[in-house]
Amino acid sequence: MFNKNDLEKIKQDKQKWEDGTLKKVLDKRGEQKKVFTSISGIPTERLYSPPDISDLDYGRDLGFPGDYPYTRGVQPTMYRGRYWTMRQYAGFGSAKETNERYRYLLDQGQTGLSVAFHLPTQAGYDSDHPLAMGEVGKVGVAIDSIDDMRVLFDQIPLDKVTTSMTINAPAPVLLAMYLSLAEEQGVSMDKVGGTIQNDVLKEIICRGQYIYPPKPTMRLTVDLIEYCQKQVPRWNSISVSGYHIRESGSTAAQEMAFTIANGIAYTQACIDRGMDVDSFAPRLSFFFNCFTNVVEEVAKFRAARRYWAKVMKERFGAKNPSSMMLRYHVQTGGVTLTAQQPLNNIVRVALQTYAAALGGCQSLHTNSYDEALCLPTQEAVTVALRTQQIVAEESGSTLTIDPLAGSYFVEKMTDQIEDEIDQYIKKIDAMGGTLTAIEHGYIQKEIQNSSYRFQKDIESGERVYVGINKYTMEEPPLTNLLKVDMKQGDIETDKLKKLRAKRDTGKWEKALNHLQEVSGTNENVVPAVIQAVKARATVGEICDVWRNVFGEYRPKEFI
């Protein structure tokens, strides 16, 4: 982008500045630290100037939004066309309480729904299972059967909203319930839109909601992708997630690298199934974190967009531009929130929201300031949603596309992060792929080492965390926290009893037997799951069928 003579002149001028203007000040008083690093530990220079990005080729490396390699964004108009989807992840207690929260959020201008299921549903157990004790309705909504799902979306037309569902190992079950409900509402499959997380690899790496061993659980993943590709064209059949990788301690570059490694594994699995890459890749979506270090986050998003585009084009031979676009949801960093001085979290979330907007996300969840203490209250959720609206409407971040492009620092960091992603992908390839790398604990250990280093930096004071290791103070505890009634377990157990007594046992048994049969073959399981949920089989019952067929996963722990 710069000619050689200009670069030479700038280099000389910089040397002059360093020997003169700068040196005078440094001699008088040094800087605060010897080495400055980003929150992920990337060493950061005092100043960036054209020689730092002398290799940058505008057409090759940046291009235009909506065009390959998508560094500047996946759409040609970005937020000038429409803002990102404001989608707050929510769910607690019963389906009825959560339905009220959803309708409140939609009334407040939220534009999409995002379902948080309680842990028993995520782990494939019914609310009355012994392992569900104490967990019912705690971190999400209790959904055991299609009856609960019907209450969850009461008065919400499924052709008017898009819904994201955070469900992984049991994903086909919850998708089947949603699609059956849409059918009940008279909404045709081509009008149903949304996203299902369906990313089991990161459950094994770091999130812990796995059920089955890697191979059969990947089979269910691919079954779902294949079914949606044929029947539900507007559905994003996977959301490959870096969010939890970052939450568990990774750096920004590791977050992108390991997510892309998982994305490569899913793509390969679909191709191995016999699917054409361009038939499913446009419906692969992603989910990332966003911390407070604004430039690093923006660079991370840009680097990942560019890298994924190259992977799809060069590695998988994709021809459809949509296959090459990294489209993603963002959630602000849960782990960045402090229980100390919780109102400070509003500021953290605002900066993270700003970074997500500058980085070009397609949808966004903002965390609430009280989430280091409990599930968010309605008041806290409202502030979080308003934060998005302020960033969209007032901050100017949406006026122009990819506004930080061309900054020497941003471009340099984008390159650095892309290089780091590339090194990890090459290493994982050399090991024999993502599954092998996970099996050997390589990815887990890389994340844990970063988590350990971060903790040590906080405790040594090397890295400042406001309210934790600096600017601390005594304060009264935050009151008015959201509490989920411990009785929720009994209520759901009662409901299940009634369901099991009232349903057509013959039909139910036939459906489960059929599912068991299909699961033992190579046939796609989703149609059989749809029959089973319509026969009012529960999440636990369906997941038990697969426990019988596939066995259960017991991970090795790497400390």
């Binding site: 812990g208 100390q340 722990e557």
Partner: protein, 133 residues
């Protein structure tokens, strides 16, 4: 004479998958000279107490970020007492509202360490408590 190594079980009760803290502390406990057994996820109180019994542990460290501490933590203490293992020190951590702490302590949890706690403080607390038992 060298002090006997403190043996600690680090456990994740319930279905919660947030294990960053549990794994980090396992490493830090080991570095501070303790013998650490990390149970992994999805432990029932019975499984945790069985592990403590088998290993003849001095300490059980419980981590929960899914809001189930009021159920699981006291249950572990109760089962330890039933097995006559009253001398095992039980500590907990995770996302735990301050207002829940008094009743947890009453139930026999020696200390609750919330987000942002310095890990040295946790190590010191455990070493002091075991020494003064």
């Amino acid at each position: 004479m060298a002090e006997k190594k403190i043996k600690i079980i680090v456990a994740k009760p319930g279905l919660d998958g947030h294990d960053r803290g549990a794994k980090l502390l396992s490493r830090i406990f080991a570095e501070s000279g303790m013998e650490v057994i990390y149970t992994g996820l999805r432990q029932t109180p019975e499984m945790i107490v069985e592990a403590a019994l088998q290993e003849d542990a001095d300490v059980v460290g419980l981590s929960s970020l899914s809001g189930v501490h009021n159920y699981f933590f006291p249950r572990v203490v109760e089962l330890l007492r039933k097995k006559h293992m009253d001398d095992v020190l039980v500590v907990g951590g995770g996302i735990i509202p301050k207002e829940d702490i008094p009743s947890l302590k009453e139930a026999g949890i020696a200390a609750i360490f919330g987000p942002g706690t310095n890990t040295d403080d946790i190590v010191d607390f455990i070493k002091d408590a075991v020494r003064n038992k």
